[in-house]
Amino acid sequence: MLSRWAALALALTLTAPATSSAQAEGDVDRARARYAEGLAAVDEARWGDALEAFEASYALSGVGAALFNVATTLRALGRHVDARAALERLLAAHPELDPEMRAAADAMLREERARVATLVLAGLPPPPAPRALLDGVEVADDGARPLRLAVDPGPRHVVVTADGRAPFEWRGTLADGAIERVDVRLAPAATGGDDPEILLWILAACGVALAAGAVALGWAVWEADEPRPDGPQVIRL
């Protein structure tokens, strides 16, 4: 069996320009080193480190296998929107992919497309619109209304703020491929003093409910991922 290392070396060699300079050869060496770092990180389930290493390897080498691993690492991190983008890029930019890797990427892309959820923010005024934050990160607003956001499934948090308006907040858990409509209502800012103790109790109740949801979600994920035999003939070892 050709080792992973030998295969990568071969791939990098094949993709290196015939008239490569010493600088380019140095890039190939660094790409190999970062790729090996990525593999080691995967073995230890250090997904963040693996992603950084594979991205660097791809930037240095342009080898499709490195981008494939970027995509699979993103998937392992639960970043399905980014994984989908990486796979689309892989298939579009690497016609040299061997058929088996292309088939695997195709299959994974279908899965990722099915997993990415959509948040439809309705009720936003046209640009310049209030600021919308998704999980604390400001979302790009292209002016389309309603504003459609491709998001990873799981618990999501949207906050919309505007001058003179009370912040609008939405929390929810999106299933794979779900399309969730959120009606954004920006009420005038309250002028009176809210009772901080009541707010504290409300927040605590939300926290408990969120935690219970997380436990239920974890259990559901665990159950759903358990592999089960296909057919009636089964041997349990």
Partner: protein, 153 residues
Amino acid sequence: MRRAPLAIAALALASCSHGAVLELSLELPDRGDARFAVLDAAPGAPPDGAGPTVAFAPGDEAHVSLVAGADLEAPLHVRVRFCEAPDCAGEPSPPTVRARIERAFYPGVKTSLTLAVPPPPATLEIDACRVQGCIEGRGAALYCVDGTHVCEL
């Protein structure tokens, strides 16, 4: 925060180790002198006959799901005996094909393997990279760079 321990518990639950399944498809040779192709399997060492078996008709395409026990990393030994009885009772030395699969199981993953079983007697060594299917799994589902399968990592 009260919710923090619960959230951690949920994450821990979600990351618990999972079982593993190998979907094994066999193209069985036709042997006119045997009525049954009797399959059994064991991790780590060849089957000793004490475990469960399933019987198929020689010449058929057979399918069996092998559910891993505790040891996922040990080589999987598969045996196909060509017998007159569906449990090979009273046949101490039937014609046999043995296969040793370098690695068949990965945590939380359903893998698959298709084997063309040669006429007995024969012994097969199956490289781990012939086992397919990790793309469906959680976690370490990266592509094997040698281009033969997606299970190595």
